[in-house]
Amino acid sequence: MHVIPQLLASTILLGGIYALIAVGLTLIFGVMRVVNFAHGEFLMLGMYLAFWAFTLLGLDPYVTLVLGLPLIFGGGWLSYRLVMRPVVHASHNVQVFTTVGLSIALQALALVLWSADSQFVRTSYYAVVVRFGGMALNLAQIAAFAVAVLFTAALFAFMRWSYTGKVMRATAQDRHAAALMGIDTGRVFALTWAVGITCVGVAGVVLAPIYPVYPSIGLQFVLIAYVAVVLGGLGDMVGALIASLVVAFVEVVGSYVIGTAWKEVLYLLLFIAILVIRPAGLFGQRGAEVIGT
């Protein structure tokens, strides 16, 4: 039987993409203490960017990825300036409703621009299957995985070794102390938000050749990212990475055992179970959910 290697390979491919979405979400939470309820909408916009470039300009999604990178980053930065900056220090409820409002507005914008119909990016290679050691893997999925790993690794390296990354980690640890050390936390927040949005936007671009695009597709992916981020401990980037693989594993094995129709129930129940049993996540600090940091 080739089932087990196939399931493992699918888990890793899927988990890599979930990781890129989740890492952006957890980075924003870790540094800014904001749960971004509009995260999925930026994924959706990334997918539509690929779709538009493909149908209007005939650009391949991977070319769009390179050319569109400044656009995605700029869009993230702009959304921070316009929407998030005034509420960075506001209460949780204000932040929740602000990002929810952003989510509604962006979804509706997509509805007006592209209608509610599913759109497809039909590249010439969309059905190419790579066979390797008895496993059959979709080429676009492998490419998406490769891009996701590349970006996640770059982000980790950036956070670990660059001076700016260090500044961001310092702000995550204690924003007041960071400000006292002369760190311009406002700029750090803007950068964090833009980087987090770039991660999820990039994920959107590379997912476009694999999934149909419609205005509310973000929710489907962002729910998975919430599960991964809470499981890994909100704000914990390594935790999010491992948890993404766990969630992908649950999804892949669940689809195989009980069918694709009910797979979402599995990870949602997993999510509720984590929230009830250990809301701080596998690696997070106990009690974070009670303090509501």
Binding site: V35, F37, V83, P86, V87, A90, S91, H92, N93, V94, Q95, V96, F97, T98, V100, G101, L102, S103, I104, A105, L106, Q107, A108, L109, L111, V112, L113, W114, S115, A116, L219, L223, Y226, V227, V230, A261, W262, E264, V265, L268, L269, F271, I272, L275, V276, P279, E289, V290, I291, G292
Partner: protein, 324 residues
Amino acid sequence: MRGTWPAVAFFAAAALGPIVVRDAFFLDSLILILLWGASAAAWNVAGGYAGQVSLGHAAFFGLGAYSAALLGTRWGVSPWIGLVVGAVLATAFGFILGFLSNRLRGPYFVLATIAFSQVLLIVASRWRGFTSGSEGIPVPFRPGFWTLGIADKRVWVYLVLVLAALLYLVQLYLERSRRGYQLAAVREDEDAALSLGVPARRLKVAAIAASAALTAACGTLWAQYVGFVDPYYVFSVDLSVRFCLATILGGIGTPLGPFLGAAFITLLETSLRARFGGIGAGLVGIYLIIYGVVLILMVRFAPQGLVPWIGDRLRWRPRLGPTA
């Protein structure tokens, strides 16, 4: 009964509406305003008064809608019994949700409620044998008051007016009773409330359960009025957002706020639908863009909502109101 005159005026105007105007479009808008206002008021019980901000209240709305629709189509049971069954089910689920998420605060609680409503959405849309899956359920029209097969919209106005008035009174109770003050204490500072001997945990669960039951009742009436239950609508996050949007707009934690917010939203929606509906369905999305922008601007510039804002201008202040 200080401070209730605007509400008395609002409900009196709603009651006079069907007598003065016979236009079906006007009556339809009035019914929807009262229904959405009642739903938002039910959300306000948990989200506003108890501070348990939920983005999963559509789950309870859907439970109410589905209970009556399924009991009616499968076993010919009256929607009134369906309403009670839906409310009982929602109370049970409200207790479960409230109990399980008792320790969670802030964004964690919001995430838990979203996950909860998504589970119900998946069950309703995938369990084909029982719920007819994603196709939804058309509610058959059976003439008579007992079966809620009422063609006369004026009767509907008074039906939902009773529900709306009931919800207003529930909120008034929460604003003026000992229980309400305790809830406000829990909302503002749970640890301080606990240390003063307020049974914070129990109160939160009770508020969520009561809010769930009331939301389910609204769901039942809505489904019977509209005549169709679509799982992707009644269990959607969008619907949950609609409840809290109306409440925030009107004034979170005020008894009249949800109704005024719902009136604003419903009028905006129907007028834009009427204007753009014929040209392109995509343009209907414009009112959703306005929703989103209004929500962002409201929480930033007038987080207490329109009612206290107008109250300030008129030198009249509702007694309580959380600071967002």
